[in-house]
């Protein structure tokens, strides 16, 4: 094995160890749970989610039709998500956030941040 590659491997190993330590540390401090929302059959599922401040919500489109996620209050706005594309947003402040699909405005949902 050439020395450069060996060094890289060693570095990667150290990095992995650091990551493990970091993960262990985080799990002790009750990490903010990430939430997933699927978009299927022109519906957000679930359409109401409660999360802790600092959590990230990821929407993923499972329809053959594009959808968007747009905050009613103008806080966030995704591009049109094609099939299997995703959009994420991190909610830092507690509050109630309504969102809709701008292409199909009857599709609505709510994120409650505690």
């Amino acid at each position: 094995m050439n020395p450069a590659k060996y060094l890289t491997l060693r570095r990667a190993g150290r990095l992995a160890l650091l990551c493990l330590l970091a993960a262990a540390h985080q799990s002790n401090a009750a990490p903010p749970a990430a939430a997933q929302i699927e978009i299927k059959n022109f519906m957000f599922a679930p359409n109401a989610v409660t999360i802790k401040a600092g959590s990230t919500v990821t929407w993923s489109n499972k329809d053959d039709e594009p959808h968007t996620v747009v905050s009613d209050a103008g806080l966030f706005r995704s591009a049109a998500m094609d099939t299997d594309e995703t959009f994420s947003f991190t909610f830092d402040k507690p509050g109630t956030y309504h969102f809709t699909c701008s292409i199909h405005p009857r599709m609505v949902g709510t994120i409650t941040v505690e």
Binding site: F42, M43, E65, P66, A79, A80, I103, H104, P105, R106
Partner: protein, 313 residues
């Protein structure tokens, strides 16, 4: 045939066509459709030519960028649609695209759509955007390319061959849980645009989403369209053209004739059939029958218009 019988058959045919997809030629005189079978169009081309000079052709819902199972080649079906228009013995004065030019509002999709539409022999193109054309955060992709006619407002009017055309936008002010919206600014502009115009002027109004409620649970309508219709009611011949629902639906109300066009890309389900208005997958040999364009001709200049829907097959 007596007038009564004619009226009966007219009613029957209109009823048949309510949610039908078959190609039928309509002669519009003073707001009343007279359906003429499309077999005539296929077998009697001089007969069609006698019906009048094509005023314009409506293309809708080209959805360039869509590549799923319902139609992996939307560029190809748009080309076929353009071939139909280019093959008309007399070319229409202008082309109207009633929106959803692209599928995802991407620059490359707009570029390809423009490149394909530049193959039309008729070069005067008027457009209104669909909700698929306006999903980029600042809606710049559509307006950079097509905003000039409306000064980036999305609505404008023009005159052609004695007919007054009004282009409207109803995809920008969605209310959550609601239908499309015209908005008070646009409605006030329409009132000013129509003020002082003779009631005998034929009017053609076009917008992407239907300007009457076809199916509310799927948002197939425009919430404040009633205020628009109130302004149009005094005119002797009004034709309202929309896209959005990828199928032909028609309605006649007084002197106002409503018509939605087929898509050139993919069909959608009948209202309420299934969980939502997604692309409808049909057998490959059925697809061309469910795609196509609409053509409107002047029959008795300028008070009568004829509307023809042509499928790809």
């Amino acid at each position: 045939m007596s007038d009564d019988t004619l009226l009966q058959s007219r009613r029957k045919a209109l009823k048949c066509m309510a949610y039908g997809g078959a190609g039928t030629l309509f002669v519009l005189a003073g707001g009343v459709f007279t359906p003429v079978d499309l077999a005539l169009a296929a077998n009697d081309k001089p007969g069609i030519a006698r019906l009048g000079k094509p005023l314009f052709v409506q293309i809708s819902d080209t959805h360039i960028g869509f590549n799923k199972e319902a139609n992996p080649d939307v560029g190809g079906t748009l080309k076929q649609s353009i071939d139909i228009v280019n093959a008309m013995p007399e070319q229409p004065g202008l082309i109207i695209h009633t929106g959803d030019i692209t599928h995802l509002s991407k620059p490359a999709e707009f570029d390809l759509a423009q490149q394909l539409m530049s193959g039309l022999r008729t070069t005067e193109l008027h457009t209104v955007p669909g909700e698929h054309d306006t999903t980029d955060p600042t809606v710049t992709e559509y307006f950079n390319r097509f905003g000039k006619a409306s000064d980036n407002k999305g609505y404008y009017s023009f005159d052609h061959a004695g007919v007054h055309f009004i282009a409207l936008i109803n995809v920008l002010q969605f209310k959550p849980g609601g239908l499309g919206t015209l908005g008070s600014d646009q409605l006030a502009w329409v009132a000013a645009d129509l003020k002082g115009r003779s009631s005998s002027t034929p009017i053609v109004v076009f917008a992407h989403m239907p300007l009457w409620t076809i199916y509310e649970p799927w948002g197939w309508g425009t919430g404040d369209a009633d205020q628009l219709m109130a302004q149009l009611r005094r005119f002797g011949s009004v034709t309202v053209l929309n896209g959005h629902i990828h199928q032909i639906v028609q309605k006649v109300e007084g002197n106002i004739t409503f018509h939605t066009a087929r898509s050139t890309a993919y069909p959608q389900p009948l209202p309420g059939d299934g969980p939502g208005p997604g692309p409808l997958k049909v057998a490959a040999d059925q697809l061309p029958k469910m795609l196509g364009v609409s053509s409107v001709s002047v029959v008795k200049h300028p008070s009568a218009l004829a509307l023809t829907d042509t499928a790809l097959a």
